[in-house]
Amino acid sequence: MSKTKITIAVTGLNNTDNPGPGVPVIRSLKESTEFDFRIIGLVYETLEPGIYMEGLCDKIYQIPYPSAGSDELIDRIEEIHLREKIDVLIPNFDAELFSFMKNEDRLLRSGIHTFLPTMKQFQERDKDKLPEYGEKYGIKVPASLNLGSQNQISEIKEKFEYPVMVKGKFYDAYTAYNTEQVKQSFNKVSSKWGLPVIIQEFVKGTEVNVIALGDGQGNTIAAVPMRKQYITDKGKAWGGITLSDDKMLEITRSLIRQTKWKGGMELELIKTVKGEYYLIEINPRIPAWVYLAVGAGQNIPEALVKLALGQEVAPMETYKSGKMFVRYSYDIIVNLEKFETIAMNGEI
């Protein structure tokens, strides 16, 4: 039986030491037994490694950053669509999700399918609203305090024991062991991400993650738990292993059931020595370690494509535990002409 031909556009080809999920998503798609995917890589920068990896993308286009305005971004994608007939678009950056969610209907009208969380699902998991989120959906979260100004730093002593986590609204997290360090981190974080700065209770334990896919109806189509075995200085997993942990799966399914989560997600949890799980963050997209899930038996990107195309997908309930991934870096030799072509023409 010949495979169905489908064209997929993927962003996030920045496979650096803080990798975007684009390259692993493409690798996952290439393992599909049902589809023959034609891959359109969408890049923001001329040095995204995915551009230079042989046999990865069929065609690569440069697109403008969403900060230039969603319209410019979507116009460019529609222009690419005229040439390439994109069936499904899989965005992989946090910063671009807003633009794509907002323009979901417009993209669909021109025939580009996506499978993204709703604006409400996206916004209610904001970091500064985590306590409300935990309460609403019955998940333990670390105690936290939103700081609106430096004056409030003195309140930390009354509520928390040091160390505490000092976090930005969108990114960045620092551990602080005393008031002075909180002040330093507060300044760093607030100048970059604005207010509030979030002070989070430091929950001692092991960091574990779940990659999952919700169908938007409350069903969990895929879910694979993992523990990071080695973490880089940027806090990214450099090695990880799949776990057989029913409690983590139960938390994931319950959350997806209640929120009717649509699309890929990553839950970041801390498992304490007592065996309790605290939710520290939800990433509203497929994480960069997605290929481990594929290796363990759940091809999440492929399932996401099917959902985007409106096909029925049966929940994948099994996976192999004890599968590991080890990331490695690899130098590709590139001729200047290739760089010149992408830099001058915006496509290659």
């Binding site: 923001y44 440069q62 697109i63 969403p66 969603s70 460019r76 939103n146 604005g194 496509e347």
Partner: protein, 446 residues
């Protein structure tokens, strides 16, 4: 032989990490006319720089806000926020549209009266109300929004002396889930100060409590904060009814709605991320209607939104004075409008646009003409090549820029209004040496 069109030679470094804009179709927005009138015509007639206010945009935006609230809530009253823009011509349009006046000083109070606003339709806010101000407010039967206990006692004293009743509301501050919390204004909800103030007012024979006021902050991008604020005021409203068997007349949710300008540091452009009037109206109306308040006793909803109503109606037209390469090769240009006219440039990335199609956009810095280092209108903006004398338009400057503008080293420019019929007229004259001579006194020396 016909000569070819000349393009200025340009070179830009391809930054690994920064996407090159070349090869990508970059749409350059241009503003060549305002309400159908050519920018060049306006500048020819009224000079440069030039503030332009569009009556059409004011009325349309106001109608949009009114529709959003009135289709969701039975009783709505807007009050024009004078501090946002108190040019008489502007205020008069809002009053014509049915807005009351919201003032924060004796000066603004006098201005509202002189614009023909009835005293009972003036909401008097702010922390600075002198005894004379309070007397004026009591005489005119205004709604005095009390900010602190010292004001409360001064008001009791003043109204007793005058043997008149003062109509009052209190300003309440609260945790509405947004930062920073503006606890410097009004009485706090969570610690019970607001409730104490209410009880004190209810005991004062010369005061009549008629409403509750809050103003949770500025440029609020989450509409849910207003829902929290509305619910908290609704709680107080019901508590007053239960304890005193008394219904207040109104709940005033203040202003703070975001305009479509982009805040510095924001990742996405403001016009994409800001809630619409419908979003704000939905959140506020739902919170009030679903509160404990019985439907027949729902208070009038007062709104004092300023920025979101007027920002889009104001433009500043400006001219390029010079192009300059900085030492590091970065392109910069000097325009004839400085930060003294554009106070909001300190927190917004204001939209600056050419009036015609121009080419070769490059990241640039736009400086004002003041001989001061802080005079930066845009730190980084992708902008096409321009020649000196090129006319540019800065949009969304209707809020605060005129009221907060500062005279410095030169005269402040004309402000003109394009009325509904497309006619233009000066609504504030450009300053002249006379402006200063009139108020300065140079002591005679022997």
């Amino acid at each position: 032989m016909e000569k070819l069109k000349y393009d200025k030679p340009s070179i830009s470094k391809i930054n690994a990490g920064m996407p090159s804009k070349f090869g990508l179709p970059v749409k350059q927005k241009i503003i060549s006319e305002i309400d159908g009138i050519k920018v060049s015509t306006l500048m020819e007639e009224y000079g440069s720089p030039l503030f332009v206010i569009s009556e059409k945009t004011i009325r349309e935006t106001h109608a949009e806000a009114k529709r959003a609230f009135e289709t969701r809530y039975p009783k709505v009253q807007f009050a024009w926020s004078y501090k946002t823009n108190y040019l008489d011509a502007v205020c008069s349009i809002y009053h014509e549209e049915g807005s009351w006046a919201e003032v924060v000083s004796g000066f603004e109070f006098e201005k509202a009266l002189s614009n023909g606003v009835h005293g009972s339709q003036i909401l008097f806010n702010g922390p600075d109300k002198s005894k004379a101000d309070l007397r004026m407010a009591i005489e005119h039967n205004a709604c005095i929004h009390i900010d602190h206990f010292d004001e409360l006692y001064l008001l009791i004293e003043t109204s007793r002396e005058m043997k008149m009743k003062a109509r009052v509301a209190i300003r309440v501050n609260m945790d509405a889930g947004i930062y920073p919390i503006w606890d410097r204004f009004g009485f706090n909800y969570e610690n019970g100060d607001a409730w104490n103030a209410i009880n004190r007012i209810m005991l004062a024979e010369s005061l009549e409590l008629i409403g509750l006021h809050t103003h949770i902050g500025t440029y609020i991008m989450v509409q849910s904060a207003y829902a929290i604020a509305a619910s908290k005021l609704a709680n107080l409203y019901m508590a007053i009814h239960r304890k005193f068997d008394y219904w207040l007349k109104y709940i005033d949710l203040g202003g703070g709605f975001a305009s479509k300008n982009t805040l510095k540091g924001a990742y996405m452009p403001g016009n994409e991320t800001c809630p619409s009037f419908d979003d704000y109206a939905e959140a506020i109306s739902n919170a009030l209607i679903s509160s404990e308040i019985p439907h027949e006793n729902l208070p009038i909803l007062f709104l004092e939104t300023g920025r979101a109503l007027i920002d889009d109606a104001g433009y500043l037209l400006t001219t390029v004075i010079a192009n300059k390469r900085l030492n590091n090769g970065r392109r910069s240009m000097v325009i004839d409008a400085g930060v003294n006219l554009l106070f909001t440039s300190f927190w917004y990335n204001l939209g600056v646009y050419p009036t015609r199609e121009l080419e070769h956009a490059e990241e640039s810095t736009i400086y004002g003409p003041l001989c001061m280092n802080i005079d930066v209108i845009r730190d980084a903006i992708v902008f096409p090549q321009v020649k000196t004398g090129e006319q540019l338009v800065i949009e969304r400057v209707g809020a605060y820029n005129i009221t907060q503008s500062m005279q410095f080293i030169t005269y402040r420019p004309n402000v003109i209004l394009i009325d509904n019929d497309g006619k233009t007229q000066i609504i504030r004259k450009k300053e002249s040496l006379e402006t200063f001579k009139n108020s300065e006194i140079n002591p005679k020396r022997n």
